[in-house]
């Protein structure tokens, strides 16, 4: 689905990403881990077309998105990608429900009624019904993050990008979000997330470890294994090297 081919990124004379290549298959759940400042978030935004790259290319179902102009990229993001950020970024002048439906209405592929219906279904699935008309400052962090996932899903994207989705959540809320991500992936949604949290990464099928802008390692979990334990052991290896 996404083929990352030897991408590099230089920012103010500093090489932030260096010669990175990997692939994300349809329905796959990929987590990107690494120490602070390693370039993992930059990788996420580069792949999703939110940030430019200096060299290489990103093929999204055969389309080289690094060659698209700003307008084409916006359309691409709107229709094919969903985004969830650490601080559940939402527009403060819209209610929760309008925040969720906004990308659907902007895409204008379906009727407003259909979009509202889907938004309601998504909210029900995320167990946040009843907060539709609330202000974004009137709900808990967990509720807001789940609303962000609803917004990301409103246009039935091909892939969901998440940047530290549980970074600002307490333990209970983290569990809720993780369970939702697992559910979505089980239903066929392709997911790529950047995280510090091994609990989140353990839900992924594939984990990339980024260090100094390069892929330092890649771990693919087999079915039936204790992912959390295996991941812990794998990460210890990197920590020792550091």
């Amino acid at each position: 689905m996404i083929k990352v081919e030897q991408i590099s990124k230089t920012f103010k004379d500093t090489l932030v990403l260096e010669d990175i290549s990997f692939e994300i298959k349809k329905g796959e759940f990929v987590a990107v881990m690494g120490p602070s400042g390693s370039g993992k978030s930059t990788l996420l935004y580069s792949i999703s077309g939110m940030d430019s790259i200096s060299e290489g290319g990103v093929l999204f179902e055969g389309t080289n998105i690094s060659k698209l102009n700003e307008n084409e990229l916006s359309k691409f993001r709107l229709n094919k990608m969903g985004f969830v950020f650490q601080n559940a970024q939402m527009l403060k002048n819209l209610s929760i429900f309008d925040n969720i439906t906004l990308p659907g209405l902007v895409a204008n592929k379906e009727t407003a009624e259909d979009i509202r219906e889907r938004a309601a279904k998504l909210m029900k699935r995320m167990e946040i019904e009843g907060i539709e008309e609330r202000d974004i400052r009137e709900v808990s962090g967990g509720q807001l993050q789940r609303a962000s996932i609803c917004r990301a899903m409103i246009n039935n994207p091909d892939i969901l990008f998440l940047d530290e989705p549980t970074g600002a959540l307490n333990s209970g809320a983290t569990d809720q979000v993780l369970s939702i991500l697992e559910d979505l992936n089980r239903d066929g949604m392709t997911i790529m997330t950047v995280t510090h949290d091994p609990r989140v990464a353990s839900k992924a099928r594939k984990v990339l470890y980024i260090q100094d802008g390069k892929i330092a390692g890649c771990k693919e979990f087999q079915k039936g294994v204790d992912r959390e334990r295996e991941l812990e052991e794998w990460l210890i290896g990197f920590q020792k090297k550091a």
Partner: protein, 776 residues
């Protein structure tokens, strides 16, 4: 200190556009403040200087015709509060008989008199502000004609009457403390005694100016009452020294008042912008301020750190403003310097403008201090958590039918929630619109034929004045016969003007000018009541009614031919002619009492006013023929000359202000909304969408502001214009607006300027990259 300067330097680099825009605002405010006060200083020094050197009279009574010299002499001797007196013999010469550089003055309304230099006081000064001296064959020309006709030293003036012709060479330009301004309807030319004697044998008619200087502390009203009681010569205009000063101050001072008014508005806007910027900056710096407080920085130290930037800006603005105000103030005072000279207190222009900029600096610094104090009151934790004390902005709802016009819907929705943030830009747009339209509307009002109604008569095309002649009656009849037989004349009406005495509020009799004739031909709109009907009713001009303390329905006693006649005030009308002191009544003056016959003429549609005026001038050569639009513009020349200067300046300022505030606000608002911009980009909005949304918000605000500004320029403008003209005799002005200019061209031009600025200013959204925003 070094550290502070480094911090400031860094801050300037980071916020180049905002800092520059704010600096321009402050500099503009300083220029206007210092410039306005410089004009005021120059004006004050010039007028004082002219008065000190020329010594204008405390009381001046004009009179045409003979008078009893012994009685007058006796009056002077028996009133010891009269310090000095003077009888100026002014030889009035018809404008059509005065030729300057080959052209007659017939189209000018000014009454021109030739005098010799006075002795004792009321001196006519030259451009060095010294008592002017002319020799035989020379003439001193009023400075008014330097401005109006470009007369220069060395030019020739010819006086011609029949076969007699007298050539005079202009050797000096005259500053006249009594009749200097365009608002004074008489002008004095200075000639030698020999020429005066010679010319008077061939042409002209004497008018006497009885002038008095009073002992200190004596009121002119005492002299006025005694003068009337003694039945001294008084069939003309009377002026007190106070009235002369008022006319001069109005004429020269108008521009200073306007500039000072604009500067106060600018200062208000600059302070509002500054407050907004400081609040916006401080909000961003909350965390850092919290940290500084946490490690023990005192509130005062933090305040000093942040305030130094604004103090430096203010100092720069004050210095630049003060220096730039020198050419700026000089430009706007060129007229008063031409008419009055530099004066004797030149220090005033330096000190006034200095006080102005210091005051501006203090106002802005005080405001800075207050906002910072308020911001620094928060606790360390409040600051570090970034807790906003502001109320929630509220929500807007997306339409249930979907987003057909997504940018419009979102822009309007957000504007609904954030309208308070746009209050300053709204005020600036209102102010800009008002500033463009107000002078423009004043000009179109004065240029509109309907403005005639403020000249004491209904709408007409041409005015014929028959005066200064032994045979007024014959001339009037000749004019009447011609007009009667001219097929191009639609209608005309003849009025006779004369003087009667009226008892004022204090029970004293005063002379007033009364116009008598058929008021139904050119009906006039009355402020109150209606035109006089029958022989027992009188209508008073607004100023006369005020001065006499009369209102519609009041009774009034008129003395004509030493007989008292009871009259009722039937109406009050506006009139700016003859100093605003006129009346209308069915009094039929004896031929010898008629001062002037005025004929108002309406020509048929399609007849050229210019052609008809020229034709009438060639046939009725003894009369003064003026097109009404010329009559209006010449009557208002003192006001409108200044206004056209202000009009140009105000349009430029408005455009600069609109552009500046737009750039400034776009910078501040996009910086404030960086997070929303990033979210919108992430969910699929393009940079173009975001630029359109910001553009819509600004333009919607501007459209509303233009609407309000347009209304203000009409309704508030009427009040201000009425106030400006009330001293001349018209208090209730209806703005006669050119709808295409005011309601179409101006708004479109303003919108276009802001639209282009938005196009450039919104490019800034590109710099708010999602990556930087989200990863913060």
């Amino acid at each position: 200190m070094k550290l502070l300067l480094k911090l400031v330097q860094k801050d300037f680099k980071r916020n180049k556009v905002i800092t520059t825009a704010l600096a321009i605002f402050l500099i503009l405010s300083a220029i206007f403040m210092a410039g306005g006060l410089r004009v005021a200083g120059i004006m004050s020094s010039s007028m004082k200087g002219l008065n000190e050197l020329a010594v204008p009279p405390d009381y001046l009574q004009m009179h045409k015709g003979t008078y009893d010299e012994d009685a007058y002499q006796n009056f002077i001797e028996t009133h010891d509060y009269i310090k000095d007196s003077l009888i100026v013999k002014m030889l009035n010469i018809r404008n059509s008989n005065i030729i300057i550089n080959g052209k007659t003055l017939e189209k000018y309304l000014m009454e021109n008199g030739f005098v010799v230099q006075n002795e004792g006081f009321d001196f006519l000064l030259n451009t060095e502000n010294q008592i002017a001296v002319v020799e035989k064959g020379e003439v001193g020309v009023p400075v008014y004609y330097v401005e109006e006709l470009g007369v220069e030293v060395g030019d020739t003036i010819t006086l011609q009457e029949g076969d007699y012709s007298k050539e005079l060479t202009v050797t000096t330009i005259i500053r006249d403390s009594t009749m200097n301004t365009a608002l004074a309807t008489s002008k004095r030319f200075l000639i030698s005694q020999a020429d005066h004697d010679e010319i008077s044998l061939h042409m002209g008619k004497y008018e006497y100016l009885f002038e008095f200087l009073l002992e200190d502390g004596t009121s002119t009203s005492v002299l006025e009452a005694d003068y009337k009681d003694a039945k001294m010569p008084s069939n003309g205009v009377v002026l007190s020294g106070k009235a002369i000063t008022l006319i001069n101050a109005f004429s020269y001072g108008l521009i200073a008042y306007i500039i000072i008014a604009i500067s106060f508005l600018l200062i208000m806007i600059a302070v509002l912008c500054l407050s907004y910027i400081i609040r916006a900056t401080m909000a961003e710096e909350n965390y850092t301020i919290g940290e500084m407080k946490a490690i023990g920085f005192s509130g005062k130290a933090i305040e000093k750190l942040y305030q130094i930037k604004y103090i430096m800006l203010i100092v720069v603005a004050v210095v630049i403003g003060y220096l730039a105000a020198i050419p700026f103030g000089n430009f706007f005072s060129s007229s008063v310097i031409l008419y009055c000279g530099n004066g004797v207190r030149e220090w005033m222009k330096w000190v006034f403008s200095f006080i102005g900029v210091i005051l501006l600096g203090l106002i802005v610094m005080h405001r800075c201090h207050r906002i910072m104090r308020k911001n620094l009151k928060s606790t360390v934790m409040e600051l570090m958590r970034g807790e906003e004390k502001k109320k929630k902005e509220g929500h807007y709802s997306l339409p249930s039918a979907g987003l057909k016009h997504r940018n419009l819907t979102i822009a309007l929705g957000e504007l609904k929630c954030k309208w308070k943030e746009y209050f300053v830009i709204f005020l600036v747009f209102v102010f800009s619109s008002f500033l463009i339209l107000f002078p423009m509307n004043m000009r179109s009002t004065v240029n509109n034929p309907s403005f005639m109604t403020y000249m004491g008569v209904g709408e007409c095309d041409i005015r014929i004045d028959i005066q200064y002649n032994e045979n007024l009656m014959e001339q009037k009849e000749a004019a009447q016969t011609y007009l009667e037989n001219d097929s191009e004349i639609e209608t005309y009406a003849i009025y006779q003007n004369g003087y009667v005495e009226i008892k004022n509020a204090d029970g004293e009799f005063v002379d007033i000018r009364v116009q008598s004739g058929d008021e139904s031909i050119f009906p006039l709109e009355y402020l109150n009541g209606s035109a006089p009907a029958g022989s027992q009713e009188i209508a008073l001009s607004y100023l006369n009614a005020n001065e006499l303390g009369k209102k519609v329905g009041d009774s009034i006693t008129i003395v004509y031919k030493e007989e008292e006649h009871p009259f009722i005030v039937s109406g009050i009308y506006q009139d700016i002619t003859y100093g605003g002191m006129t009346a209308k009544a069915g009094i039929y003056f004896d031929v010898e009492d008629v001062e002037v016959y005025i004929i108002y003429v309406d020509v048929k549609d399609g007849v050229s006013f210019d052609k008809k005026t020229d034709e009438l001038r060639s046939i009725l050569s003894d009369s003064k023929i003026t097109q009404i639009n010329e009559f209006i513009s010449q009557t208002l020349v003192g006001v409108m000359d200044n206004m056209s200067l202000v009009e140009g300046a105000s349009i430029s300022i408005s455009i600069v202000l609109s552009m500046l505030i737009t750039v400034l606000f776009l910078q501040l608002i996009t910086a404030k909304e960086h997070s929303a911009i990033a979210i919108k980009k992430a969910i699929g909005f393009t940079n173009r969408d975001l630029r359109i949304q910001f553009g819509i918000r600004i333009l919607v605000i501007q459209v509303i502001a233009i609407f309000i500004g347009t209304l203000l320029s009409k309704f508030l403008g009427e009040i201000i214009f009425g106030f400006m003209l009330s001293s001349m005799g018209a208090s209730k002005i209806t703005m006669l607006i050119n709808p295409i200019t005011a309601y179409l061209i101006c708004p479109v031009a303003q919108l276009l300027v802001v639209f282009l600025t938005v196009m450039v200013g919104t490019k800034v959204v590109r710099k708010y990259h999602i990556r930087n925003q989200i990863m913060e």
